[in-house]
Subunit: 628 residues, 2 copies
């Protein structure tokens, strides 16, 4: 067996309450690698076309990669995937924290969850063994209480728990899966899939040490990362991900009031600097990571925030903050705690509430719909109330728990143009009128407008260290943010394939990419862990394979190029502010999407048989044949 | 300017007798790299569609790469290209020796020769300066005499000479360009292009030392190659390229009697072992190379061979030996000397003579046609006579100097099926009924059935060191020689892209690939020479770019998928011998060609606009649009 893997995949059938293990061949591991690429493989092989995402036919896959659990910064992540109840297509999200590493130490590379338990259960995975345990007493608990209960009853405070909160139990379509309380497989509604299976949690504990092909070489790269990445990411460490807020605001790229604007007057009040100066009590990290970009905050009454839930990231601050017209960091921190406690994706949740606020201001929703709530932009308590309502599916929350696309269809006339989504998923907090390459990325991403599967192209707009990283892929020229030329699309594609690889590895892109580890050094780390003599070239192929599997899953589920567009709002400039007058032309934008697909070997978005063959996954071709 | 390059390209217009230099941007060098990729670029940019290959509109490009002249084994090669008078398409061939390194030391990365001199001339390139010198007194000289004359009149025995012999002067369509007397840009008729321009030779001399980004790292890789490659290529060093003859003969893969058979009873008499035991006097090398695979032989009367011409390689031994039914090594060595002295490609020449012999045996040519010569297989003196006749375009030689395709059309009924060629170029000496992946390679190669642009797939038929090399490209499984599965085509494609890169670099694949240098180490050598932070991924893109440029040149010149087949003979098993009963099925074969094209992103052989965009050469797309 290749080093870095356990060589064992756990399959749990909840309908039968039984588990088995499988030991795939080395060639399987090398080809499908882990994380997102595993998810794509298993979804296409095992979930029948047209399956109900919330039915027992869907599967939920927890997948680590060869690097997960290797004691090197950036290697503490895992991926969770299944058919998405939000998009109806490829659902997958990655999470940091410690759970993925513990899964590996517990003896497995991945878990495939099948069927549906009759009553709530949780899994306890320890040292290669599995228990399916009653969870009826845990059902309804928020994540902190649930983790405490599991650790208590198993008598081990070192147990790592991945779990759903009440939102997942209630099958909120954008419920997330939380682990270690402050890390989330956030997007595409994997928490709802877990809830639909009556699976409350997976607790992991293990003492297996991963075998490494060249332990000394691994250590050396680990030391390099420890010594260099914190320097390259110094601002990230000091101010967290929300360090970017002032810059975005200045550029007109801070999503505000359901993306009506790109700046917020009080933006500095919600910045990473302000957080550091006010509510921050500690910096947290994921497994083995020297960066410590995660936050821990403490807020007193009236918006008392429990520090055990960590603190808000940029995406959350923008989604439930500026995008809801809010500039009160304490309220945002409270909202962050609620999304964590209830287990709901803070990005989609903020998108949904921002949408509802705009509907309210435009008279498409009234106080009758909101139960008397004055659901205007800037109303912090209303935002907090809506997080709870959504998670509980109460009142207007029942409608909003379906996501903006379904809610808008329900609300009717005028609402659909306020529903900002691609393929049914709400936007990540990056402005596609400014970052136009990322806008194309939103459209071509198999999971919809997802910031973890995409390019942050402001970083390539000047000759800088990050562009230097891309040179090993033959990308040598800096390109403007608002460029949609073929050269820019080529950059987007190269970037995205590497991101798909990172999500298969499963590695943190803050460390491995923005931390300037470099593609060659990461390739050497893969060598040193696995013992394979690999290269950036092979790893890029892994990324491309993951992207092709995901795209083919979407095609099999009925997506077409008609789904490949942005909401109309993003072709219309903001009415005021720094970005006034700037928006991509719709024709140019759609030509850029077509160019991306052509460059991928996906004419009209459909991977050619040749491309699938080039990647050694020709078995996929028949799955996307048009039905006769 | 990037290290490894001079940053200067020499342009010589022979019609005007003037020269200029150009200094392309760094980005040009990084994208188009050198060698074959340079050739593709300049041919598409500068040679008008439909140009007469033997007219002044055609250009002749001599191109080095960043590694050419770096004092490391395998880095002594250069490429020569132009529109081929043999195929009418992309013409290009690489040569070893010392000339390419001397060109770099003389201050240039490439020479573009334009127009046509009124009278024979030669160029003297020294230390960044150029002289266009009278060559009337050299016209008609064989290569040894010509080199001596040039060195004598310039008073420098260290001058390196690339030149044509009488065959090039006579525009034999498969005339080669010789350098250092024993190295040849052999295939696709570049010698005829040079002859058509009245350019007899290019003499180079320089004392410029290439600047290297990391001289110590270059030295270290050079030492590694010196210490390890000769071990990995021990048989090549001891017995030369013809070490393979016994094995091929045993497998039925030794082209014999115009590919009617795959074995020769006296094969051992022409093997590398026999050469070593009999006529070998010395092993020779190219610039800086520790392998010494080249031979120097001495033969006395009646077939006296001048050792200064070196000795025959495998391809020559098979082409003018077994393929002509000959097992007399002294006669073959004499034939090798004649091809070198007259400057004719020994592979095509052997192919043409073998064709003529079969025509003669089948009564399609008679003694009247041959001037009384008994042109049967196995008639050594007749073979030698034909080399001279062809080179002088005398008698039957005038017809055969046109190549088998044109000659067969002239001879008429029955001859065409004996004319073994793809796209008009004669076969390299590898049996496509056995090496079936290579057979596909013959068809998809832009230069026709060329062994330097192709895969020798017997090497991938078992889990061995060479397969290990390919793992960095994600090729992990051994595959049989006679396999045309998608997995095999994937291997072929990956191999070919790396070969296209090596031909752009311009590196020797014996050293860099068969010598087990490894793709990662070569990528580090490119880093250490140029100072670019590159990767196997970027270098594979260079190879793919070269392949796409060449393919597009062919399309622009009118090739279609109808040209993408093998002669019928290769779909019919040999009548006897070890390979009896073995041949690819024509349908399976053509499906494999289609699969290759699809994997390349070339549906029906036409690079998609997306593929060209992916490679950053979108400017090529309009050139291959079908005419309205």
């Amino acid at each position: 067996m290749s080093h870095g893997y356990n060589g064992r995949i756990l399959r749990v059938n909840l309908s039968r309450g039984r588990w088995t293990t499988e030991e795939p061949a080395d060639s399987f591991y090398r080809r499908y690698f882990g994380g997102e690429c595993f998810v794509g493989y298993f979804l296409l092989k095992e979930v029948p076309a047209g399956a109900d995402p919330l039915g027992p036919e869907n599967k939920l896959i927890f997948a680590a990669g060869p690097l997960t659990g290797v004691p090197v910064g950036g290697c503490g992540r895992h991926s969770v995937g299944g058919k998405s109840p939000l998009t109806g297509g490829f659902g997958e999200a990655e999470a940091g924290g410690y759970w993925g590493a513990e899964l590996k130490m517990a003896g497995f590379d991945a878990i495939i969850v099948e069927g549906k338990a009759e009553e709530p259960v949780y899994l306890f995975v320890r040292d290669g063994q599995v228990e399916v345990r009653d969870a009826r007493h845990l059902w309804g608990l928020k994540t902190l209480e649930c983790e405490q209960a599991i650790r208590g009853e198993l008598g081990d405070s070192g147990i790592k728990v991945a779990q759903i909160g009440p939102a997942g139990e209630n099958q909120v379509r954008f419920a997330c899966i939380s682990n270690d309380l402050d890390a989330f497989a956030g997007r595409t509604g994997m928490g709802a899939v877990m809830g639909s299976k009556n699976l409350k949690a997976i607790a992991c504990r293990g003492c297996r040490r991963l075998s490494l092909a060249e332990p000394e070489a691994v250590k050396e790269i680990g030391r390099w990362i420890r010594d260099n990445v914190p320097v390259a990411t110094q601002a990230l460490q000091e101010f967290g991900t929300s360090r970017v807020i002032p810059g975005l605001n200045q550029a007109g790229g801070l999503p505000t009031r359901n993306f009506q604007l790109g700046y917020l007057d009080g933006a500095d009040k919600i910045s990473g600097q302000t957080m550091k100066d006010t509510i921050l009590v500690k910096k947290r990290s994921c497994f083995a990571c020297p960066v410590h970009c995660k936050r821990e905050v403490k807020v007193d009454e009236p918006y008392a925030v429990d520090p055990r839930y960590g603190g808000p990231e940029y995406e959350t601050i923008a989604a439930i903050g500026s995008n809801c017209g809010l500039d009160n960091l304490e309220i945002i921190a409270k909202g962050n705690e609620l999304t964590a406690a209830y287990g709901v994706d803070s990005i989609s949740c903020g998108g949904v509430i921002g949408f509802a606020m705009e509907c309210f201001e435009r008279g498409l929703l009234t106080r009758r719909d909101t139960g008397g709530l004055d659901l205007r932009f800037g109303n912090g308590p209303a935002m907090l109330h809506m997080i709870e309502q959504i998670s509980r599916r109460e009142g207007l929350g029942a409608l909003l728990a379906e996501g903006v696309a379904r809610a808008a269809r329900e609300i009717g006339a005028g609402a659909e143009e306020l529903a900002l989504h691609v393929k049914g998923m709400e936007m990540a907090m990056h402005e596609p009128r400014w970052k136009q390459g990322l806008g194309v990325g939103y459209v071509v991403s198999p999971t919809g407008p997802d910031h973890v599967h995409n390019m942050h192209d402001s970083n390539f707009a000047k000759q800088g260290p990050l562009l230097q990283e891309m040179k090993v892929l033959g990308i040598t020229e800096p390109l403007p943010v608002d460029d949609l030329s073929p050269a820019k699309i080529r950059l987007l594609m190269a970037n995205n394939m590497w991101i798909h690889f990172l999500n298969s590895a499963v590695c943190c892109f803050f460390v491995m990419f923005y931390g300037l580890v470099g593609l060659e050094r990461l390739s050497r780390l893969v060598n040193a862990v696995t013992g394979w003599e690999t290269s950036v070239s092979e790893l890029m192929q892994v990324g491309e394979r993951a992207a092709n599997l995901a795209q083919c899953f979407n095609l099999r589920e009925g997506f077409t190029s008609a789904d490949d567009t942005l909401p109309q709002r993003f072709f219309t400039p903001q009415a005021s502010g720094p970005l006034q007058g700037v928006a991509p032309d719709a024709d140019t934008f759609h030509k850029a999407v077509a160019t991306y697909y052509e460059m991928m070997g996906w004419p009209q978005g459909v991977p050619s048989a040749g491309k699938l063959g080039e990647l050694g996954i020709e078995w996929v071709a028949p799955l996307i044949q048009p039905k006769p």
